[in-house]
């Protein structure tokens, strides 16, 4: 049976992330934590593969102890086993340290066929952990997958969305893919699946449970420093043209001609 691993992150449950201008950190007050929306597509795709061909799905997350509930939610969505990597030594990790730590957690699972990650997390928005994890594990990867056409014993055939269209690609397994929201419509849990998930046991993995280099995890293993978080300025100047239709057309053509001269 195929083994699929889905990487899942807990993020603030809102479409509008607000940051504290003084501390540059995300304001989490009054905002419930949820599964990173992109990861819900990863979970759904894994579950669809399971429904088609049979598979065992691991859901792995690195985070704070309360992320256990989030992994139970992932179980209610079709994950077979949740693993939470949580330890003070993992705290403050950037994408590099996160990928390293996750790779150590995945090594514990043993052999696998496919890792699916969401394209990016909605809080950090880097889209780096997926590719970085693949490099750390030394396996092939493809980002921005919008469709899995076929998955066979030793290869996966899929579509990658690009700025210009799609690329059709074949990757040898084991491999990692990151998925975009076009790939599916994630299902919601049912009362039945939630009842089962609540009874499920999430495996907790601490630093001592993995063979890791302490210098490469958490804050110590993170070369990235956030100096400033800000919303990029987006200035739009609006000129309202008034008058009769002829006057408006005249003024508009004047403006457009001037613009062309500026460009030239």
């Amino acid at each position: 049976m195929m083994k699929i691993i889905v990487c899942i992150k807990q993020v603030p449950g809102t479409n509008e992330v607000k940051t504290d201008p003084e501390t540059n950190t995300i304001i989490r007050e009054n905002v419930p934590a949820i599964i990173n929306p992109f990861d819900t597509y990863a979970i759904e795709e894994a579950v669809r593969i399971k429904e088609r061909t049979g598979a065992f799905i691991y859901g792995i997350s690195m985070g704070i102890p309360s992320a256990e509930d989030m992994l139970k939610e992932a179980v209610s969505l079709g994950i077979d086993k949740g693993i939470l990597m949580t330890d003070r030594k993992f705290a403050g990790a950037d994408t590099l340290a996160t990928a390293y730590t996750l790779s150590k957690g995945i090594e514990r699972i043993g052999e696998f066929d496919l890792i699916i990650c969401g394209r990016q997390a909605t809080d950090g928005d880097t889209a780096q952990v997926g590719p970085s994890l693949a490099r750390t594990l030394n396996i092939a990867y493809a980002t921005d997958i919008s469709k899995i056409i076929e998955i066979k014993d030793n290869e996966i055939h899929c579509l990658k969305i690009t700025d210009d269209g799609y690329e059709e690609i074949l990757i040898k397994l084991p491999a990692l893919i990151t998925v975009v929201k076009e790939i599916n419509m994630p299902r919601l849990p049912s009362i039945k699946s939630m009842k089962a998930a609540r009874k499920s046991k999430i495996e907790i993995v601490e630093f001592d449970g993995i063979k890791a280099d302490e210098k490469r995890t958490g804050l110590k293993g993170s070369p990235t420093q956030v100096r400033k978080v800000f919303v990029p300025l987006h200035e739009v100047n609006t000129t309202l043209i008034e008058g009769t239709l002829e006057e408006k057309a005249g003024k508009l053509s004047e403006i457009l001609l001037n613009l062309r001269m500026e460009v030239e």
Binding site: M185, L188, I191, K192
Partner: protein
């Protein structure tokens, strides 16, 4: 300045009812003074006036039958706030053109354009910071205007718990037909039995007698003027479809937000089981000896045909982003639960699962949303239903221009739920009409939308609606629960009230608008000399 009518303003002859009217001039006032000027001028010339908000109404209240249009969409400011410290109540004053969607955004972000606010209002905002608030009236169409919401006493899904617009309006400013202004605060003017007396800003006393007709015993009703001995007179104007005055300002009360809101869509194997589930949720019946303590803020319904329509439409791109419906999904009930704790809700949902199973359903056939993002998905799914109907009608309209939307808005008392569903289903079956049923089943208030294939079916549907209106009235129900009577439902109201009773309404209108220039043809026909 009034604008003479030309094609550019064609859209102002229509509203969401898809009816098209006619008019000679239109004005877009930005202040109450501009409304007064326009009203005075028209009143002098005896030209009828139709007032409009966002024109999202379904009963054609905003569709003009000739004359002048006062469109209030440019009066779209939140003009102040008030906080009652003793009772911890928060109020906002809004102009009639403020859109519900904008209001919600302002409240959620606690962000208002307050440059012209007075000191009390700015002070009140500080108290707003302490808690989280929301405006509970939630018609499906969020581009509705606040003036429109007050005019038709709108409600929506959450009215099951929170009541309709009326229950949250605490103040009104109205420009009367002669240009004088009437200011009403809740609690200020109470009728003495059936006699009332109001003082206008101009110092004029308006005295009168309330009609004798009795309103139906239903939770949702906006069929004709609100009328009850000893009533608060502000209630007469709420839901009066703009026929007594033009609203220039509304004070609304906000509610405190709960930290935890869950939404559940429950698929039942047939309609009867779905209705039993609704009755269990309302604590009318007990299933398998399970003590269900659930108190939903909304109970909504999707008929088998409604789900089929959504499933068919899902295949097109317009609705590809709504939750995927399995072929086995038959009838659905949607509920929303508010609480302070997830664990409290879960304890009830767990029992609800057992109730569903005991009723012959399957707790696996449910969608549970307990975070804002997933809740929005369920809201989108719900909203897709009327949107889908509109698309279907638009398509049919291309072949038969005379066809407009055929949707009901009637409510009945609790014990008549199964009877009314039977009436709807049998009525459509006997007449071989295709239609979908959805809406606020918690209040026995369902929207039946007939999808006619041709003019013949359209006429049949219209006749059927009249028959239903008569039966609903006999059940003690209301022919319009939240859309208002407008112009489309004038014939329905006649099934609910006698000619004499409707004449009483007309008499009441003439106390405020003697020449009947405001929203002529709305609630009752305009008959010269009457």
């Amino acid at each position: 300045m009034d604008i003479k009518f030309n094609q550019i303003y064609g859209e102002y002859l229509r509203d969401e009812s898809r009816q098209v009217g006619r008019a000679e001039s239109i004005v877009f006032p930005k202040t109450e003074a501009e409304i007064i000027n326009s009203v005075k001028e028209m009143s002098r010339k005896n030209i009828p006036i139709t007032s409009q908000g966002a024109r999202t109404g379904l009963a054609a209240s905003a569709v003009p039958y000739g004359g002048h249009i006062i469109n209030l969409s440019k009066m779209n400011k939140v003009t102040g706030a008030r906080y009652d410290e003793k009772e911890d109540r928060f109020f906002l004053t809004v102009q009639p053109g403020v859109l519900l969607s904008d209001l919600r955004k302002y409240i959620a972000n606690k962000s208002f354009v307050a440059a012209e606010w007075d000191k009390e209002s700015i002070n009140a905002l500080k108290f707003m910071e302490k808690g989280r608030w929301f405006y509970s009236t939630d018609p499906t169409e969020t581009s509705a205007s606040m003036g429109g919401i007050a005019s038709c006493n709108a409600s929506g899904a959450r009215s099951y718990k929170y009541g309709s617009a009326r229950d949250h309006i605490t103040g009104l400013r109205l420009v009367l037909a002669d240009g004088d202004v009437l200011v009403l605060k809740r609690g200020q003017y109470l009728a003495k039995d059936d006699e009332f007396s109001l003082i206008t800003e101009g110092g004029r006393e308006i005295k009168g007698k309330l009609p004798k007709y009795k309103m139906p015993h239903v939770k949702k009703n906006t069929s004709g003027y609100y009328n009850k001995p000893g009533m608060d007179m502000i209630d007469l104007f709420i839901g009066s479809d703009g026929t007594l005055g033009i609203i220039s300002e509304i004070e609304i009360e906000l509610n405190k937000t709960f930290d935890v809101i869950w939404g559940l869509t429950i698929f039942m194997p047939d309609e009867d089981k779905a209705l039993d589930l609704v009755r269990a949720l309302r604590h009318e019946i007990k299933i398998a000896d399970i003590n269900l303590n659930i108190n939903p803020s909304a109970i909504e319904f999707f008929s088998h045909k409604a789900l089929k329509m959504l499933r068919d439409r899902q295949k097109t791109s317009a609705f590809s982003n709504i939750q995927e419906l399995k072929d086995t999904c038959h009838t659905a009930v949607y509920i929303e639960i508010e609480s302070d704790s997830n664990e409290l809700v879960w304890a009830e949902v767990e029992k609800l699962g057992d109730v569903i199973n005991a009723l012959g359903g399957d707790e696996e056939e449910t969608w549970v949303a307990y975070n804002p993002i997933n809740l929005e998905k369920l809201h989108d799914f719900r909203h897709a239903c009327p949107e889908c109907v509109n698309l279907e009608i638009d398509q049919i309209k291309k072949l038969n221009a005379g066809i407009t939307k055929l949707g009901t808005d009637m409510s009945v008392p609790d014990d008549k739920l199964k009877d009314v569903m039977k009436m709807y289903n049998e009525g459509m079956e006997e007449n071989k009409l295709d239609g979908v049923i959805f809406g606020h089943i918690g209040n026995n208030h369902l929207h039946v939308n007939i999808i006619p294939k041709d003019m013949d079916e359209y006429e049949k549907g219209k006749e059927l609606f009249l028959i239903w209106a008569e039966k609903i009235a006999a059940m003690g129900g209301a022919v319009s629960a939240e859309h208002g009577v407008g112009k489309l439902k004038v014939p329905f109201l006649k099934k609910m009230y006698t000619e004499e009773e409707i004449n009483e309404m007309r008499k009441l209108k003439k106390i405020f608008d003697p020449s009947q220039i405001l929203n002529r043809g709305t609630i009752f026909e305009y008959v010269e000399g009457q």
